[in-house]
């Protein structure tokens, strides 16, 4: 019997190694896997590359991971927020590397990794400093920038419900990056509010098929 819910959060997170690339779901705090990030902080891995839309809020979660200097590099679209002071401080001190990626290029590069593409030509960012040094091409009269896939060793995502085969459903705008990050990581760990019996998720309504998820861990209600 395959049971992807069998590991504790700490056991699942122990797959993270120093130097890993980790995708973290969420748009602001919506969809952010707070408990998994706490487990990652507890775990102690260092020298991480984090792929996430933002660079942490307040003093918790990703912001705390950054504060503790465990993040070597952030790949994100919108680090600056009203409460991103830990990132801001470290960035100004040159204590953290930043690869700033337009949000849609972040999404498509993650998707490209999940879908096994070598790269894509995207119109976004053409002619801007975020395309500096990148290959460009005119295709059918429009200008594009070549972007490489972004893949990860681990994805940490938050969903609403999951089953022992790893099937997931999400809730409202907390879905955001979860489904595409699950596809782009070698190991995806999903925290869910509820683990449900196999077969209780309608096969028409599953958003992330279990093939993209290696561990499902419950955070209770």
């Amino acid at each position: 019997m395959i049971d992807k819910t069998s590991l504790s959060m700490a056991q699942a997170i122990s797959k993270v190694k120093d130097g890993s690339t980790i995708m973290i779901g969420g748009f602001g705090t919506a969809g952010q896997p707070a408990e998994l990030i706490d487990a990652l902080i507890e775990h102690g891995a260092r020298d991480l590359t984090i792929v996430s839309n933002n660079a942490g809020n307040g003093d918790m979660g990703l912001a705390l991971l950054i504060k503790e200097k465990r993040v070597r590099k952030m790949i994100c679209s919108f680090p600056r927020q009203h409460d991103s002071w830990h990132f801001d401080t470290l960035y100004r001190e040159k204590g953290i590397e930043l690869e700033l990626v337009p949000q849609g290029n972040l999404a498509i590069r993650i998707q490209a990794a999940g879908a096994g593409l070598g790269g894509v030509f995207t119109p976004t960012g053409y002619g801007t400093i975020l395309a500096d040094g990148k290959e460009t091409r005119e295709i059918a009269g429009k200008k594009y920038v070549f972007e490489l896939p972004i893949k990860a060793d681990i994805a940490l995502i938050k969903a609403l419900k999951g089953d022992r085969w790893g099937n997931l459903v999400y809730r409202k705008s907390a879905r955001n990056f979860g489904p595409i990050m699950a596809m782009a990581a070698a190991t995806t760990i999903a925290q869910v509010k509820e683990i449900v019996p196999l077969g209780s998720l309608d096969p028409e309504h599953v958003i992330t098929p279990g093939i993209f998820v290696q561990h499902v861990t419950s955070v209770g209600v």
């Binding site: 748009f27 991103s84 960035y91 100004r92 700033l100 119109p123 976004t124 801007t128 879905r175 955001n176």
Partner: protein, 215 residues
């Protein structure tokens, strides 16, 4: 007659007039978000939020906020009957793929050729953050900009060439400021409306790029 610049709400109200029923619309953070308040209640207009919402409704009643139902500015919103959710891949396919009819963005500068600068002042100590602005700039069928006509120091924001880092090239279709509504065309900037009390010469004085008028 003294110049009567439009208030921020009046600018939002003016943009709302140009959004047609059935349009798929993305409203940027800040002033553009206010446009939603002025859309005619009888018109069905589809508001898109980059974080995976189509059919976004107004702010919820106090006490009914849901932290998992937020807009791109991370403010609480609601979902209309008939709205739906989707992931970031599909959301940016809507934006990049030309499926959004109108986006409305704020700006630091717009150039005479429609170049847009709205994400970065270029200041060396600024924390850069771009979000979805570049995707909207290249992807929306029409890009509208709302901004004050001049900076607080009185410098023009409608310029010959942007001095701030660009968001997108030749992408702006129409500019709404407190002083005028201006179309960006292949024949240059064409003023189509002016605020009460302002004359052509005064508007030009406050604008770096040359303005034209349909005669």
């Amino acid at each position: 007659m003294t110049i009567q610049p439009l208030s921020r709400d009046q600018i939002a109200q003016r943009v709302a007039l140009d959004i047609e029923e059935g349009a798929y619309v993305n409203l940027g953070i800040g002033l553009p978000t206010r446009i939603a308040n002025f859309l005619a209640p009888g018109k069905e207009i589809f508001l898109h939020s980059e974080n995976g919402i189509l059919g976004m409704g107004p702010a919820p009643e106090v006490g009914k906020e849901d932290d998992e139902l937020i807009n791109a500015g991370k403010e609480h919103v609601t979902l209309l009957n008939g709205g739906c959710f989707f992931h970031h891949g599909d959301s940016f396919a809507m934006m990049r793929g030309g499926h959004i009819d109108v986006c409305v963005l704020g700006a630091f500068q717009v150039a005479a050729n429609g170049d847009l600068a709205n994400w970065h002042t270029g200041a060396p100590d600024a924390i850069p953050a771009v979000g979805g602005a570049m995707d909207l700039a290249v992807g929306a069928k029409k890009v509208f900009v709302t901004m004050e006509h001049n900076t607080k120091k009185g410098e023009p924001k409608i310029v010959e060439r942007c001095t701030y880092p660009l968001t997108g090239l030749a992408c702006v279709d129409r500019i709404y400021t407190d002083l005028a509504v201006i179309d960006v065309t292949s024949r240059g900037l064409i003023v189509i409306e002016m605020a009460p009390g302002i004359d052509i010469q005064t508007l030009q004085n406050r604008t770096e790029a040359p303005l034209h008028y349909n005669s």
